[in-house]
């Protein structure tokens, strides 16, 4: 057993005295992330400065069999950065540099601790931006985005994080450094980068990330459409997509969410008697955007919109967006506590699923606000509760699960962008069968055989121990039998139980 003193000494040797936190009173800040329902103290928090230091830290911890996990800004909503096993937290916050930009080739290389919005801010002067835009973009890191495969409002048209990260330096859980992906074209061999993105810090640590950057669209138009009925808003979403326009974003909020955001610093003044509001943005070449915006307005009208308006200024557009992006935080103004859920459904089932959510809310007596990426069918039901009322926290968690099960039942998924973490780990069993869980554990085993790196997250333990299959025998006689066949034969169904 390694003593705490030994651990701290070794860490300080690698990253320097001032970059190791181990005093109990200072560790509390790291006891949870954006998911506050669980807390645990890490053994220590270590902040390396570069890939080599990360690799050295990981190698030492691996050799001493001490569990560890990576952490970015700690805004994750599913508990991925919580030190359940009193891990050593490897904080990437110091590694926050934009290493290089190549405008001609549309690439930027960043350290994982670089804040999402900072990247865009640094290249905006030249007319470029980084597309994935989680609402938390002013604080969350690109490393955290990679690990969660973060989404955002504009993913409808531009795709999520996995569509924008092309390569990374990656420290495996034994300290070995590898390169995954390929800055241009395809990596040769298996798509290891594809597995790493969205792996929630369970496969290793990204220490240098190459992303695509995009030229800012020439023109943008934003519409705010208010509907008496949710159904009309849902139909509008389908009709816009059906007409052949993919807006940059289509966001929806229901009445309760509107009440919350109107209590925030960004007051839009939504009427109290409408059921839904849509925020729709189209972008592209100036010559054509206006026409697209007109089409959008027309479709809103065909679907009984009460009022629809195009933003007249960048200030107005900014207000509408701020109002939308502050929605999670604003929920705190209408309820002492809330849980953010993150299910995805086929867009065409929107009306029906929102009705089911209303029923669940009524049955449970807990209010649920809905604010979500309607174009993607990515729901964010905000379940309001009061943790001071005995049993209500548990009830809220149960209600959250129930909502996710509805999403899976209509052919969707339990999480579209916030990740599984600790929060939804049991719901994974609702979505995946045992063999499918086992298949994912096998992937983790390939990367992280000792399970020291962020154990107990993302993939639940298998319900029953799936037998490890024996190595296959090679039956030479049969080889001979088969090599005698010259004809191409269609084989009819062999008995699948044999």
């Amino acid at each position: 057993m390694t003593s705490p003193v030994e651990l701290v000494r070794a860490m300080k040797e690698i990253v320097g005295e001032q970059h190791v936190i181990h005093e109990q009173n200072k560790l509390h800040v790291f006891s949870c992330d954006g998911y506050v329902a669980r807390q645990a103290l890490p053994r220590a928090v270590v902040s390396p400065a570069n890939t080599e230091e990360v690799a050295a830290v990981v190698k030492w911890l691996h050799e001493h069999q001490i569990p560890f996990l990576p952490r970015g800004a700690g805004t994750g909503l599913s508990g991925g950065a919580i030190a359940l096993n009193n891990e050593v937290v490897i904080s990437l916050a110091r590694m926050n540099q934009l290493l290089s930009v190549d405008f001609e080739n549309l690439r930027a290389v960043v350290q994982p601790g670089l804040v999402n919005l900072t990247l865009t801010k640094q290249i905006t002067g030249d007319g470029y931006y980084y597309a994935p835009d989680p609402s938390s973009q002013s604080v969350c890191t690109i490393g955290g985005n990679l690990a969660e495969n973060a989404g955002g409002s504009h993913c409808l048209k531009y795709g999520v994080t996995t569509n924008h990260i092309v390569a990374a330096k990656f420290v495996l859980p034994d300290g070995e450094v590898i390169d995954v992906g390929q800055p241009y074209g395809d990596a040769v061999g298996y798509d290891i980068l594809g597995l790493v993105v969205g792996s929630e810090g369970t496969l290793g640590i990204a220490t240098e990330i190459t992303v695509k950057i995009l030229k800012k669209p020439q023109a943008v138009q934003t519409a705010l459409a208010m509907f008496d009925r949710v159904e009309d808003a849902s139909n509008t979403v389908s009709a816009i997509i059906g007409t052949g326009i993919i807006p940059a974003a289509i966001e929806m909020m229901d009445q309760l969410a509107m009440q919350a955001v109107d209590k925030s610093n960004f007051h839009v003044g939504y009427p109290p008697d409408i059921e839904a509001v849509l925020l729709i943005e189209v972008d592209g070449l100036a010559a054509g955007v206006e026409e697209d915006a007109e089409r959008v307005v027309e479709i809103c009208r065909q679907n009984h919109v009460r009022t629809v308006k195009i933003a007249e200024s960048t200030d107005e557009r900014a207000l509408w967006w701020s109002s939308r992006k502050m929605a999670f935080g604003a929920t705190g103004r209408i309820s002492p506590d809330y849980i953010v859920q993150d299910g995805v459904i086929p867009r065409s089932r929107l009306t029906e699923v929102l009705q089911r959510i209303t029923e669940i809310s009524r049955e449970s007596g807990l209010r649920i606000a809905n604010v979500f990426h309607a174009g993607d069918g990515n729901l964010h039901p905000l379940i309001c509760y009061d943790s001071r009322v005995p049993g209500e926290t548990e009830k809220a968690i149960r209600v959250g699960s129930e909502v996710l099960h509805v999403c899976v039942d209509v052919g969707g998924t339990i999480t579209g962008e916030h990740g599984v973490g600790i929060e939804k780990i049991e719901d994974m069993r609702y979505q995946f069968r045992d063999e499918e869980i086992e298949a994912q554990i096998a992937i983790r085993r390939a990367f992280n055989p000792n399970d020291l790196c962020n154990a107990g997250k993302l993939i639940p333990e298998p319900a029953r121990c799936v037998e490890v299959k024996q190595a296959r025998r090679i039956i030479e006689q049969n080889v001979e039998v088969f090599s005698g066949f010259q004809e191409q034969t269609a084989v009819t169904a062999p008995d699948s139980t044999s």
């Binding site: 040769v188 798509d191 296959r472 699948s496």
Partner: protein, 403 residues
């Protein structure tokens, strides 16, 4: 004649459904028979010759479009559906899967996903990995696994879909694929610009630095034209007014550079691209290069120089905003083929690029690794292969790094 790369005869099995596929795999694993899944067999000439296989598992009978929800922009298909058949079904509802690799019409969606084949439209829409959202896969032991979810956003568990896309049948048999779709562009317009490679290099720079939205931007040299004559084809999938604006801008730049320009619209544009794809067929050697887009011009010059030096017929096609090029060579002795691959690989590696063979004779692929070096991520290839296919049942030694 099936080009499995194997000198030994194998039995061809054509399962009708997933249950049969699973039963075959289970039997094969137990017996130690090696299995090579194939679609239409159009891309096997891009693989390492591999070990002897006993069963060629042809997915051609599983050729149904299973579920198509236009309003969700999602389609689920069996692997044996051809790209052209799928295109027909989707077009009827004004939707598209923006995958346009230059392959024979018979090539199947299962094969395209397994090789991660892509074409010019990748410039705007990305590749198979960006479109495939869910799969059903039969593991070597017959277990059936679902990956992903049939909705456009999903982060539940590892993104296993990406592992199987491009894995060339070395891990499992894909029995069902779900893709997210795009609306068929409301308007189609292609601008053709003619000039030297240098003209196109300049044009590319202007294009990338602009607000234009090219959905394809392909620089082409042709077998028939004398070397040195190039053409840049730029598409716009935006609405008509935007397309017009883009066309005007490109034409203005062409005038500045004294390049001539031509504009194709609607079905004329479609037909032109189709003809380009057809011309790609029938070469003796097809090589794919990838590097930073600003390097395309130097690499293209290398290719042209080789062609002149040895008097071979070469045609090049470069996605200039992506830095992905395909080189088609006709009338080439195998020794020269090996040499061109090796030379290009050296040149590309110098700029951190890659070169893979898409199509070559077995002799050539024996002489030079079709995939080339695999880099430091390669340590994981064996480990993943071992987890999923410990008996090395699936397509042994046909893929990168000897997998």
């Amino acid at each position: 004649m099936l080009q499995t790369g194997s000198d030994y005869p194998a039995v061809l099995v054509e399962p009708a459904d997933e249950a049969q596929t699973a039963a075959v795999m289970k039997r094969a694993s137990e017996a130690g028979w090696k299995v090579k899944p194939i679609g239409a067999g159009t891309q096997l000439t891009g693989e390492a010759p591999g070990e002897r296989v006993h069963i060629v598992l042809s997915m051609g009978r599983m050729n149904q479009v299973l579920d198509f929800s236009p309003s969700d922009l999602v389609v689920t298909v069996q692997p044996g559906v051809t790209l052209s058949e799928l295109g027909r079904v989707l077009t009827a509802e004004q939707k598209m899967l923006p995958l346009d690799p230059w392959l024979p019409a018979a090539s199947t969606i299962g094969g395209i996903a397994s090789t991660a084949a892509s074409g010019p439209r990748r410039a705007l829409y990305g590749g198979v990995r960006d479109m495939a959202i869910a799969l059903r896969v039969v593991y070597p032991d017959g277990t059936v696994i679902r990956t992903g979810s049939k909705v456009v956003k999903n982060v539940a568990g590892y993104d296993m879909t990406k592992l199987f896309v491009g894995s060339r049948g070395t891990l499992g048999v894909i029995t069902e694929l779900t893709f997210k779709l795009r609306p068929l562009p409301l308007h189609r317009e292609t601008v053709l610009l003619f000039g030297s490679a240098e003209d196109i290099r300049l044009m590319r720079s202007k294009l990338v630095g602009s607000v234009l939205i090219p959905s394809r931007a392909q620089a082409l040299s042709s077998f028939d034209e004398p070397t040195g004559v190039w053409m840049l084809a730029v598409d716009c999938d935006e609405n008509e007014r935007s397309a017009q604006y883009q066309t005007e801008q490109l034409k203005a730049w062409a005038t500045e550079q004294s390049m001539s320009a031509d504009v194709l619209q609607g079905s004329a544009a479609d037909d032109w691209w189709e003809a380009m794809g057809e011309q790609a067929l029938g070469a003796d050697l097809v090589v794919r290069l990838a590097a930073a887009p600003t390097n395309w011009h130097d690499l293209a010059a290398k290719v042209a120089e080789f062609a002149t030096r040895y008097g071979v017929d070469v045609r090049q096609s470069w996605a200039v905003t992506l830095g992905i090029g395909e080189v088609f060579v006709r009338g080439l002795a195998p020794e020269l083929a090996t040499q061109i691959v090796t030379e290009l690989r050296t040149a590309a590696t110098r700029v951190n690029g890659t070169v893979v063979i898409k199509h070559a004779s077995a002799q050539v692929r024996q002489g030079v690794d079709p995939f080339g070096p695999i880099g430091r991520a390669g340590v994981l290839f064996e480990r993943i292969k071992h987890q999923i296919d410990p008996g090395r049942t699936m397509s042994p030694a046909t893929f990168a790094g000897g997998i």
